[in-house]
């Protein structure tokens, strides 16, 4: 059964019409149902040892991000130092999964993190809008990979997607994947601009069919960014995609996740939707900057019994 579906899937991208037929043939998302299920899973209470485990896992899943026009090599080095030792006063605190920067800052991050096992992710393809000619976007990716980035966060062409030119989006993702070489490709759907959950589901499948290793909700520059229901739809997509093809794809919600409580809600969602296989930094990431501080403060509260304050974590 799986084999026939898989062979079927290899055929869906052969033409624009076939791709459209496949994406529009995906079952529609029950909007109210998705929101209710996400809200219901968000009420789970995670306490004591489970909470400690969840906090450490969430720290290990963080893509510590700085994407500002004002970024400097010094700021990136400081961020890398924090990525290596999020809580310098506690050696048992794990490092984060990756540092995510603009392509010009990749070399600095690679140099600082060398040998640590922390990945260096770079946004590319004319992030955040993606509104540049394809050749420019591919050159952006190649420059980031050449500088040493081992994960590339690309943005899809939302203009093409929303006007129904799926094949164009597909080909662009495939071209970026080819330009990445051995680097992992995260495909940013920018769900805040896709308007409906049906579109999120279609874009997820499109990105996975085109070869994305991760699907990511948002750039963080558009509101709304990551939400629980959107992530639920994407988690269902990666689960179904693995069932159909055998290939596992990761999910990365990004933007707007600021508290440890929110992060734990996402972990519950992952466990209940995609399953335990995704509860690992290789398959689930948080794109965030201020989230890490709240995770550290919660960790401190759990280990000492006293509330921490923002004076005891770094500014960033």
């Amino acid at each position: 059964m799986t084999a026939t579906v898989a062979s079927g899937l290899s055929e869906v991208a052969r033409s624009d019409a076939a791709l459209r037929a496949f994406l529009h043939g995906l079952p529609g998302v029950d909007q109210v149902g998705a929101q209710q299920r996400a809200a219901m899973l968000g009420t789970r209470s995670i306490k004591t040892t489970s909470k400690a485990w969840a906090l450490d896992l969430a720290i290990r899943m963080v893509d510590l991000t700085t994407l500002e026009g004002a970024d400097t090599p010094g700021k990136v080095r400081a961020l890398c130092a924090k990525a290596l030792r999020p809580d310098p006063t506690d050696p048992s605190c794990p490092p984060v999964a990756a540092v995510c920067v603009y392509p010009t800052m990749v070399a600095t991050a690679v140099e600082t993190l060398e040998g640590s096992g922390i990945h260096v992710a770079s946004v590319a393809t004319a992030f955040p809008s993606g509104q540049a000619p394809l050749a420019v976007r591919l050159a952006d990716v190649e420059a980031a990979v050449a500088a040493g980035a081992d994960e590339i966060d690309m943005v899809i062409n939302r203009g093409a997607f929303l006007s129904g030119r799926y094949r164009e989006v597909f080909d662009e993702i495939a071209a970026v994947k080819a330009a990445c070489g051995s680097a992992h490709l995260k495909v940013i759907l920018e769900t805040g601009e896709l308007a409906t959950y049906d579109n999120v589901r279609r874009a997820s499948w499109l990105a996975m069919l085109a070869g994305g290793d991760f699907i990511k909700t948002s750039t963080g520059k558009v509101s709304p960014a990551a939400t629980l229901p959107v992530t639920l739809v994407m988690l269902e997509a990666v689960r179904d995609f693995r069932a159909a093809t055998g290939r596992q794809v990761g999910v990365k919600p990004a933007g707007g996740i600021r508290t440890a409580k929110d992060a734990i809600k996402y972990l519950v969602l992952v466990n209940e939707t995609a399953g335990e296989d995704w509860l690992h930094p290789d398959w689930f990431r948080f794109g965030a900057s201020s989230l890490l501080n709240d995770l550290l403060m919660q960790r401190y509260k759990l280990s000492t019994g006293r509330y921490a304050g923002p004076n005891y974590v770094t500014l960033d």
């Binding site: 019994g305 006293r306 509330y307 921490a308 304050g309 923002p310 004076n311 005891y312």
Partner: protein
């Protein structure tokens, strides 16, 4: 308005109106939430009659209140002293407008109506007295220090930060005002644990503060058990000072002071049981919650 002749009073039942009871809630960040824990506790009059249910704050309410107070500290401490004074005068005006309501609540709590009216008068006067200090502390308690070199050497009082306050239990309004006003006049923000048995005037004071241009979060009011909430405030690393005035249990006070030592909080020890809140205040409460910053500046170049 209907006249006697028009109303068929003789044939219909007298109008029965259901009273709209007030829900006494917490005051955190300018909003009036119920306790996160969903709990409440009954408040009784001096004679033991049921008066109302007040929210029973939990440690998480205390945490939220500290977060709100910290968020408010930047704007409030950076406001000019003149502006802070004006806002505090405005609070006094609003207190005056609610005089009757405060008198009724204080009277119900203490059982003495005449004394209650006098206490409300005194509380408003106390508030005005502290409001006047807003733009005077720096002149009176700052200094231009003579030093052995060509420098201006200036000491200025600055706010400490977030202050946790345990309000006196016996004096529900005057005692409360006497500990809250000196904390915020210099630019601190406060998390106040109201009198455990007489919390209603504190909630009404919160309503006054909410309508007096005081920025959200400058004063946060929690009602509930001191023994439950205060330890979390004393150990909280983001609280800079704790005023234990209203702690009546000596053992608890020692525990709180010990917990407060972890991040070197300023601690005001409990007031003696014989404290007379009607007595004229002095500046000690204000001075206890400020830090002196000294600046050296070259001169004569």
């Amino acid at each position: 308005m209907p006249t006697e002749q028009e109303s068929p009073a003789a044939t219909t039942e007298p109008t029965v109106r259901l009273a709209v009871r007030k829900t006494y809630k917490l005051f955190i960040g300018g909003a009036f939430p119920r306790s996160e824990s969903g709990r409440s506790y009954p408040v009784h009059t001096a004679t033991g009659d049921f008066m109302a249910n007040a929210a029973l704050a939990s440690r998480k309410d205390a945490r939220d209140a500290v977060r709100a107070a910290r968020a408010a500290f930047g704007t409030w401490s950076a406001a000019t002293a003149y502006n802070r004074g004006q806002i505090l005068y405005r609070v006094a005006e609003m207190l005056e407008g609610r005089h009757a309501q405060f008198t009724a609540e204080v009277a119900a709590a203490t059982g003495d109506r005449d004394a209650a009216a006098a206490e409300v008068d005194a509380a408003i006067d106390r508030w005005v007295w502290y409001a006047g200090w807003a733009d005077k502390i720096a002149q009176v308690h700052g200094a231009a220090n003579p030093v052995a070199g060509p420098y201006f050497n200036l000491s200025t009082p600055e706010p400490t930060g977030v202050v946790a306050v345990v309000a006196p239990p016996e004096s529900p309004l005057l005692g409360l005002v006497s500990v809250v006003a000196p904390a915020i006049v210099s630019g601190n923000t406060a998390v106040v644990v109201a009198s455990e048995d007489r919390p209603l005037p504190a909630v009404t004071l919160a309503e006054v503060l909410a309508t007096s241009d005081l920025p959200d979060g400058v004063v946060n009011v929690l009602t509930g058990r001191v023994a439950e909430i205060a330890p979390w405030l004393a150990s909280h690393m983001d609280v800079d000072a704790i005023d234990l005035t209203g702690v009546t249990d000596a053992g608890l006070a020692v525990d709180l002071e010990t917990a407060a030592a972890e991040n070197l909080k300023r601690v005001l020890r409990p007031a003696p049981a014989s404290s007379d809140w009607a007595a004229d205040p002095d500046v000690q409460r204000m001075l206890a919650l400020i830090e002196t910053k000294t600046v050296w500046h070259p001169k004569g170049i």
